[in-house]
């Protein structure tokens, strides 16, 4: 039985096993300038990370900048090849079944530039729905539904006129166009004010997960967001998994050590041993 088959038997939505990712680091010296692979070193972005994400839950992938969160999400989308180890999404390996599995996944990132700013939100969503293979009438219906669900009454306005919060809602609408079972969210509320972030977090928790049974892998360094949304979490630090388990258990364990007033941020800092870029 292959590694992929063994992993997929436990029925988790996302299974990450012994994942290692090394990025090449250019060597120094004149020869390395002309021959980039000469004397090349590597930077290990993920070092043997293993965890499972239960179906119908919000799983938090917590870490500071450069911890390896985005690398992991990109491997799950086959935008990156792992050095070794496996990621399975709904039992399929994106490396081998990339196109097939992307029909069942949605990605939300915090990259505002990932839309065509000269087009309206609706035209953008129409374009992306075509890339999901949706026909015109289904796409129109779905875009209207999502517009209503996310309270987007500005779909016909040029994307360039959207505020940051409106753009982030459009990114969520795009990820939901094809009604995927699994959503990978990379800092979906980054650069949003609490007034804009909280309703989106409530939408993810209540509408997507509780009502519709979606599975969400949420990569974030916003500890209050993780506290509001996640049931289970993995904390990674410079590619190493330093905690894996339920948020409640970590809070209990951390408060026993640091005192009852300790928040997730304090516990996180205690675990990774520094305060770098925490929100």
């Amino acid at each position: 039985m292959s590694v992929d088959e063994v992993l997929s038997r436990n029925g988790a939505a996302i299974e990450v096993a012994q994942l290692i990712k090394d990025y090449p680091r250019p060597g120094k010296g004149l020869l390395s300038f002309f021959l980039p692979s000469w004397n090349q070193d590597v930077i290990r972005a993920l070092d043997g990370v293993t965890f499972n994400v239960r179906r119908g839950s919000v799983f938090g992938l917590l870490g500071t900048n450069g911890a390896g969160k985005t690398t992991l999400i990109k491997i799950a989308y086959n935008l990156l090849l792992p050095t070794s180890g496996t990621v399975l999404v709904l039992g399929e390996n994106p490396m081998h079944q990339g196109v097939k599995i992307r029909r069942r996944m949605g990605m939300v990132n915090s990259e505002e530039r990932s839309f065509y700013w000269r087009l309206s939100g609706r035209r953008n969503l129409e374009f992306y729905s075509s890339l999901h293979g949706m026909n015109r009438s289904l796409a129109d219906k779905r875009i209207d539904e999502l517009g209503e669900l996310l309270d987007m009454d500005y779909l016909d306005v040029p994307f360039s006129d959207y505020s940051t919060g409106m753009r982030q809602k459009a990114a969520i609408a795009r990820a939901l166009l094809h009604d995927p079972e699994v959503l990978l969210m990379d800092e979906p509320t980054r650069s949003l004010s609490p007034e804009a972030a909280y309703p989106l977090q409530d939408f993810i928790r209540q509408e997507l997960v509780a009502q519709r049974g979606k599975t969400v892998l949420l990569a974030t360094q916003d500890m209050s967001e993780a506290e509001r949304l996640c049931e289970d979490i993995a904390i990674i630090d410079v590619g190493h998994l330093v905690y894996l388990g339920s948020l409640a258990a970590l809070m209990e364990q951390g408060r026993r050590k640091l005192g009852q007033d300790a928040g997730l941020g304090d516990i996180f800092v205690d675990l990774v041993g520094r305060e770098e870029t925490l929100e």
Binding site: M107, E111, H132, R174
Partner: protein, 263 residues
Amino acid sequence: MSKALAFLKRDFFIEVSYHFNFLLSLAGIFFSASIFYFLGKIVNPSVVQDTANDYFSFVLVGMAFAMFLRTGLGSFAESMREEQMMGTLEAMLATPTSLSIIILSSSLWRFLLTSVSVVVYLLIGAAFGISFAGANIPVALLLLILTVTAYSALGIISASFIIVFKRGDPINWVVSTVSIFLGGVLYPVSVLPGWLRFFSRLLPITYSLEGIRGSLLKAKGISDVATDLVALAVISAVLIPCSLALFSLAVNHARRTGTLVKY
């Protein structure tokens, strides 16, 4: 097919959002054609008699169809780089659409605009007195398809370079410069020294323009341009598998190094 149409629709709406862009490019075609019309009056027609009736018709067909060279050669790399820089490539790759379909479909609009521009060139030529009365359109189209195939293969190699090195693509620069210099776009290959003529025979554009000028301006049939057709077919047959293999290597390299969506 529906995905290709979605790309065309997207690019159409983006294009019309820039109100004067297309009108200005049409005006550019009119003025460059006019310049060559008057230039043609001081060039002896016997210089181009093998493939055209006068210098104006020679250069107009050369300029018009060389646009396909530039589009085939540059559009894939340009589309790739544009999508990388706009940040839309990653979002597109998150859909069940392969990178090759994204790049090919992103280039369709450029090919469509080039086709429109070529028709405009030919219409302006007709307005200035060029006769296409006996033109063999099917043969010209066949030659054009093979030309686009050959230069698209080179364009895919160019896009592979952009995927790995991001900027400073030497393939596009070398091939387009050498093709314009030696391929008989602005002057016939016969005016080149013998040793340079040898190199011009290695370029698809040489066969393409000879054949297309013959079929459009001298009413030549398929047997008259057989050499050009065979040469273009052989060049395409060699370049297409090489370009696809290189593209696959480049994408895997970018996926390994994490640079696929970086610019």
